[in-house]
């Protein structure tokens, strides 16, 4: 046990960096929630809104307390039924009827909805009527080629694209033309910068958007917003409630919002801003769905390439971890958002201002100043 070293040659990656890539082979698996039909061919090309698969989703069940309504014992129910399991029924159609005293005492149980009789229980005296199935259509979401078909389950669509991950989002899948609404990555996306011409667009802001601007965007009919930061108060006001845990994407607020950096006023990363500028006015797909736990899901911005783009030299993989020279972004105060290169990875625990003794790394910031930060507080920037 005498092989102690002063510095690690590498640290095994902590927070995986968010992807900001001009070229990525994007593969999207489009799955049905239940087995169904695939309606596209292998190798065919699809657009944003092409239907690729469809299925029937069971309707909602309605439980009717039949024996109680007829004032009989549950086990007697079968004597009074006029429908059996599997029968189709119309709304208000009689399911069971009770008659006594030569018809003087009559009671009936009717179906509250159109559907079919799924279960009749002699133990509980209840009848379950299920509403008719509904069609569920799955769209392609991104344009591209169908590269795999999973019979009855779904398809995989592939395209090359710009691929950018945000840190947090709300709202689900949408698409529309990009529109850069600010001049620089540190500019606020204010109410006055959102105009009628932004109807149906995906707006790109700078460092922050506030509640009044979000409201204006909704009034105008903006489909999506990509911005560096947002205050928690503005987000809560816009959503109408506070988020407890980060599990989003199913909100139906009228637009999709993607925050690229975090909460507060934070300039959008220059690289992200520049890439989005390069693709101004082009059609982009985005999805705000975020899940920080049990299968991390970050919001995404996908700008499909319109023509064949050559793949750049393969980027460094996250698997190699952090080594001296790795480009990182600091993701916590007091250097939140700063970008730098790792100088060294001391092995021994070091004391922070908070008093905690933790493993750290030394980072040279853009301005050549060297700072020490906990290893847990950086993310690797993939290049």
């Amino acid at each position: 046990m005498n092989n102690k070293k002063k510095y690690s040659s590498k640290a095994y990656a902590y927070t995986p960096g968010l992807k900001v890539k001009s070229f990525e082979v994007v593969r999207k698996t489009r799955l049905l929630p239940l087995p169904g039909d695939i309606v596209v061919e292998l190798g065919s090309y699809v657009g944003f809104d092409t239907i690729v698969a469809e299925t029937k989703v069971p309707g909602d069940p309605h439980i009717i307390k039949a024996s109680s309504l007829l004032a009989i014992e549950p086990e007697e129910l079968s004597n009074y039924l006029v429908k059996k399991e599997g029968d189709l029924v119309e709304k208000n159609e009689i399911l069971a009827k009770y008659s006594a005293f030569f018809g003087l005492s009559k009671r009936v149980v009717t179906s509250p909805v159109k559907g079919y009789v799924e279960t009749i229980s002699n133990s509980t005296g209840r009848v379950i009527v299920r509403e008719p199935e509904t069609n569920l259509l799955i769209k392609a979401y991104i344009p591209g080629r169908v590269v795999e078909i999973m019979p009855y389950e779904g398809v995989i669509i592939e395209t090359t694209a710009v691929f950018i991950q945000g840190i947090f989002g709300i709202g689900g899948e949408t698409h529309g033309p990009l529109s850069i609404a600010v001049d620089s990555s540190d500019e606020l996306l204010t109410h006055s910068k959102i105009k009628d011409e932004h109807l149906g667009k995906i707006l790109v802001g700078g460092s922050k958007i506030d509640y009044s601007a979000l409201k204006k965007a909704l009034e105008v009919g903006v489909k999506g917003i990509i911005v560096g930061g947002i205050d928690d108060d503005d987000l809560s006001k816009f959503m109408g409630y506070d988020i407890g845990v980060a599990l989003t994407g199913s909100e139906n607020l009228g637009l999709t919002l993607i925050v690229t950096e975090g909460f507060g006023k934070i300039s959008m990363s220059q690289k992200t801003f520049e890439i989005l500028n390069d693709y101004d006015k082009l059609e982009v797909a985005l999805n705000g769905a975020t899940q920080i736990r049990a299968g991390v899901l970050r919001p995404e911005i996908i700008i499909p390439h319109r023509e064949n783009v050559e793949a750049p030299i393969k980027s460094k993989s996250l698997d190699i971890g952090m080594v001296p020279g790795t480009k990182v972004r600091i993701i916590r105060e007091p250097f939140f958002g700063r970008i730098g290169k790792i100088l060294s990875l001391p092995i021994n625990l070091q004391r922070l201002e908070s008093g905690s003794r933790v493993r750290v790394l030394e980072v040279e910031l853009d301005n050549e100043i060297c700072v020490t930060v906990p290893r847990a507080n950086v993310e690797i920037i993939e290049e």
Partner: protein, 610 residues
């Protein structure tokens, strides 16, 4: 899983991990001079999530840290497994682990009456270390369609269904079973297997329920959880949950099949491991114990009160993933009230949101640390409230009603946990174990749980209670030795009367005879808190005479004499009152906080002039 191969005295190294929701913690234990001791810790982010989706990567990374720190090889050269057994100064003799990654064991619980069978089922699931996502009952106030939508919106790992006493009516439990059937519920991890359902209800309904649900679930009948209303029999259900957790749930989580192959002992949910450790304390000390595990995603509370063990897992009350749920539940004002410096509420909210979206980051500045400590106090307080709602007398049971009981108007719904009767509080979890100064964790526990009377406080040294809990299932003596010597830090004793007075009023007189013969006398004013050093293993004699409106454990205004145990922090005399109250005025509040914090030497910087 490999079988346990050696006797404890034939082993040299044991590796244990906890695959937490945020971090995987590796702990290496070593036998030195015939005695088992903790040797070194290594940590790395858990890799259950994309892009890794293989928990063994996080385990490898944590073990690599251990290797780096002591220069002892444990991983195979290609990193794809562990060297076992220990030979030629390499490897370990045993490996075991607990896990709460990927959401832990998420269950739905159903019963007939919400305060009877459903509540018993809830206790059984929590006792097995599960996170209970919802408790359904016939009388829970929701319409059937709402219950169905609720079940559909979750995809649990398992369902526990109870209802009815043996020989009683079967109708109501059948009704709940029909609701479960109608929801066509699917398991969370993968569609390749049937959702496990443990049935612990009226045994006469078992056959009919199995027939009804067989198509949709993997049915496991066990003994009734409430065979009669006066008896709660949770053990068979708890055992079945454990077995199904291994058979169905763990084997479908990313990388767990591989991890199960590495381990020599069944993987255990983290709260189950923690619970065993808390029970060990109660057993050895023969005292009432309140334990808390403050994790990244959940807050687990354990009580062993008059011999009865209850565990609660508050899903979504935690210090990383769930930090904003604590904010949501308690409100921003309850968090900022603990901060002794000026800061905008909006700023605090943004910082907490940033922690939520980047949960593995840690505070670098003191102010940020204090914000997390403020949230921790509130998470503990909410977790205890939840726990007390479960730690109640059996409802529905016939009880003898004595005159005294009737006159005291004790209501059945009340929790039987009384803080005045809790002798020991033990804390574990990353935030407590990593607090830069142990006095901080002692005060976080005190402020969050508000002990009354005389209470000893213990803390997990470097977060290894779950590790030792699972280890104790195969090597109890080894686990206890490490637990006693290296894990359990005796922080000291808190002496706090219940009741309230005006700020500055005389609260109680203290006479403390120290082991060296010196007598310390204090006149404690209401609102004061002080710290007196008394070393671990030292005992002092206490005489405490409270104001007539305050109770120190012997009754209002009645003197208490007791032996007081020391610890690495010593004795804290807390005259701030119970329940703890804060002044409305912001400046006064900060002034009082700064007075408390500086009296305790809680933080290295005083913010009085901030």
């Amino acid at each position: 899983m490999n079988s346990v191969r050696k006797a404890a005295d034939e082993m040299n190294y044991i590796l244990a991990t906890d695959v937490g929701s945020t971090t995987t913690k590796a702990r290496l234990f070593h036998k030195r001079d015939g005695e088992w001791r903790f040797l070194v810790a290594g940590e790395a982010p858990t890799t259950v999530e994309a892009p890794y989706e293989d928990v063994t990567l996080g385990v490898r990374n944590a073990v690599r840290e251990v290797e780096e720190l002591i220069g002892h090889q444990i991983l195979l050269d290609d990193g794809r497994g562990l060297i076992k057994p220990f030979v030629d100064e390499r490897g370990v003799d045993l490996y075991c682990t607990t896990s709460s990654a990927g959401g832990g064991l998420q269950m739905m619980v159903a019963g007939v009456a919400s305060t009877m069978t459903a509540e018993s089922a809830n206790r059984a699931a929590l006792g097995a270390g599960a996170i209970v996502m919802d408790v359904l009952a016939i009388d829970d106030g929701r319409e059937d369609y709402e219950k169905i939508q609720r079940i559909r919106s979750f995809r649990p790992d398992m369902i526990l269904l109870a209802g009815g006493t043996d020989g009683g009516t079967i109708e109501l439990v059948m009704e709940i079973a029909e609701i479960i059937k109608s929801a066509k519920v699917k398991p969370r991890l993968g569609a390749g297997y049937k959702l496990p359902l443990v049935y612990a209800g009226n045994k006469n309904a078992g056959g009919d329920i199995q027939k009804l649900l067989d198509e949709n679930v993997s049915f496991r009948p066990v003994e009734n959880i409430r065979p009669v209303l006066e008896v709660e029999n949770t053990e068979p259900a708890r055992r079945a949950i454990h077995e199904l957790f291994m058979e169905h749930v763990m084997s479908h989580a990313p990388g767990y099949l591989k991890l199960m192959d590495w381990t020599d002992v069944d993987i255990m949910p983290t709260p189950a491991g923690e619970g065993i450790a808390m029970q060990l304390i109660a057993k050895v000390e023969n005292q009432n114990v309140l334990g808390v595990g403050l994790g990244g995603a959940t807050t687990n509370v354990y009580s062993i009160f008059d011999g009865r063990f209850v565990r609660s897992v508050s899903a979504n009350l935690g210090m990383s993933y769930s930090i904003c749920n604590v904010l949501k539940e308690t409100g921003i004002k309850n968090i900022t009230r603990w901060l002794p410096y000026k800061i905008e509420e909006g700023d605090v909210k943004n910082r907490l949101r940033n922690k939520m979206i980047r949960p593995t980051t840690i505070p670098q500045t003191l102010k940020e640390l204090m914000i997390e400590h403020a949230v921790a106090r509130e998470a503990l307080s909410l977790g205890l409230k939840h726990h007390k709602s479960l730690a109640t007398h059996l409802k529905g049971a016939l009880k003898e009603r004595s005159l005294e009981r009737a006159l005291s108007q004790e209501v059945e719904e009340e929790s039987y946990i009384k803080m005045m009767k809790i002798n020991i509080i033990a804390g574990t979890g990353g935030l407590l174990s990593h607090a830069p100064d142990r006095v901080q964790s002692m005060i976080i526990l005190t402020d969050g749980l508000q002990p009354e009377g005389v209470t000893r406080l213990y803390q997990d040294s470097v977060f290894m209670m779950p590790h030792l809990g699972v280890l104790s299932t195969v090597y109890p003596d080894v686990a206890w030795n490490i637990f006693d010597k290296d894990c359990l830090i005796r922080l000291g004793t808190v002496i706090a009367p219940s009741g309230n007075l005006q700020e500055g009023e005389h609260a109680f007189d203290v006479k403390l005879e120290m082991p060296d013969g010196v007598t310390i006398k204090k006149d404690m004013k209401f609102g004061d808190i002080i710290r007196i050093p008394l070393k671990e293993n030292e005992i002092a004699s206490l005489e405490c005479s409270p104001h007539k409106a305050l109770d120190i454990g012997s009754g209002k205004g009645v003197k208490r004499e007791d032996k007081i145990h020391g610890g690495i922090i010593g004795v804290i005399f807390d005259a701030r009152g119970r329940p703890l109250a804060f002044p409305d005025d912001d400046n006064t509040r900060r002034k009082i906080l700064n007075k408390w914090y500086s009296s305790l030497k809680l933080y290295p910087i005083d913010f009085s002039n901030d």
